[in-house]
Symmetry: C2
Subunit: 331 residues, 2 copies
Amino acid sequence: MTETRLDVLCIGNAIVDIIADCDDAFLEREGLTKGMMRLIDAEEAVRLYDHMGPAREVSGGSAGNTAAGIAALGARAGFIGQVAPDQLGEFYRHDLTATGVEFTTPATDFGVPTARSMILVTPDAHRTMNTFLGAAQLLPASALDAAQIEGAATLYLEGYLWDPETPRYAMVKAIDIARRAGRKVAFTLSDTFCIDRHRGGFNQLLDDGRLDILFANEAEIKMLAGTDDFEAAMAATQGRVQTLVVTRSELGAIAVQDGARAEVPAEPVCKVVDTTGAGDLFAAGFLAGQAQGRSLEDSLVMGAVAAAEVISHYGARPETDLKALVARRLG
Amino acid sequence: MTETRLDVLCIGNAIVDIIADCDDAFLEREGLTKGMMRLIDAEEAVRLYDHMGPAREVSGGSAGNTAAGIAALGARAGFIGQVAPDQLGEFYRHDLTATGVEFTTPATDFGVPTARSMILVTPDAHRTMNTFLGAAQLLPASALDAAQIEGAATLYLEGYLWDPETPRYAMVKAIDIARRAGRKVAFTLSDTFCIDRHRGGFNQLLDDGRLDILFANEAEIKMLAGTDDFEAAMAATQGRVQTLVVTRSELGAIAVQDGARAEVPAEPVCKVVDTTGAGDLFAAGFLAGQAQGRSLEDSLVMGAVAAAEVISHYGARPETDLKALVARRLG
């Protein structure tokens, strides 16, 4: 196998987060289910934005957050995603590049703007996402750089990208290129509603042996396995993938790798402000740990440290020196 | 005098803040003076942005922040400022409107984008602002709505707007309209470099009796008066304006109104994160207090409470319920 240029290459929806506070009554009035991600069209995006409070805009997108976290932890990260040639697209590129992520997918004018997700944060720190996919859903397979994929030790994909057809096709092609080059493929299940829409496709990826690492939270692994029993869901899934990583919020996280199981508690957080990006940064910490040759348990600790940082403030990208936090925790 | 529709109508640069952390070495490398605001052109904006770390985008602009604070405190606020018909302009309008501020100045395509200020925050929470004025510097006098100005009890203007010629002319015209209608005119000195550029013009406004309320911080009042002695600067200025409000960071604030003097200490803050907007929100609290018929001292306390909130997080707009904070403090 040839040398790698990147540790992890992430493919995902290139989305700017527009984050506002709201109360539970607002979610109810708008008919929104707390904690979920829903896709909305341009018209609904305008309508909801009109109702929303003043907001912060921060670059986001699940796999983009993971790429930013990996780079912040000192590993080599790349990102593939589609932005439009507009101000949001410029922000998106700047923020990733400034974090040290290789992001070379060109901006393309498809006549739709860069994606944005209106994220409503309730006082309990839970986030409810309303995503207008715009240009992100038009990532063409032709935008993939085969040499870049072949040069990345791990290809990382977000389940959300399975929703629109065009990037799903690009993702399947990317998996093929990675596998042929003998690289690992990692996948995150993203969201229970997303699994509900694509359970067949996700299970097929596992059964075809096309995934090496699977990330999920407790609700997602249960949804995928079709059971309400957590340990039964773990048992049903862990044999179908080399590495299974499952996060359980304040209960910590579990990984099963080649039959060995490791478990860590959640890292303490002074005040949970906004849980957006918790799973994305957990994946970042775990993947950076694995890239750095750390043990399964230490990789989980790195995930927990990165997740704890990101939920302590608004926005899904790290705002503190993650390397220093990990060094303090693991030495 | 006819009834008022607004308590305070603010005119200012409509600017989106792009906020990133940096260290002192970065400021030095870029040749920037900590704590200052400088105006930059499009080329320098691109160059500096390329060097900056990942950022948050939040609506800002001095008078816009003040308008948002006034509305958040339950008083009736309006804003006049120029945005372009682009994504930043849409954010700007949304954020002000969602706070309850009347903002009807139409977006206009002058071929330049909406203004943005790249704000670099050092670990000591001080901010250094690099402002590309874009559309903001093209606010034409024709965009003023005379009836709106006549219907506002107080017209509030930012010194920054004195820099570009076009909005300076609009501002002078707005002062005329307000004075003819018997309304009060308030002015903030904004920045010592700004005073250095316009000391003559600012002193002329005072000497012509065109200002009723003047806001400054300690450095600014000294700069305007041309003395390093704080009390001498107060003495030289307080007779030239009905109400003089001077903030002194952690030393609190002083107001002199019709010869009576009030003084309050700074409100305690757990952790100062980003001082951007401290003066803007102090002005908001003071003006809202005056609009609500509160005493000079209680108006100062409201200023201190609003300023303390805004320096406890990134961004220059309130993120907590200011009305509740004031109610807790003043009952």
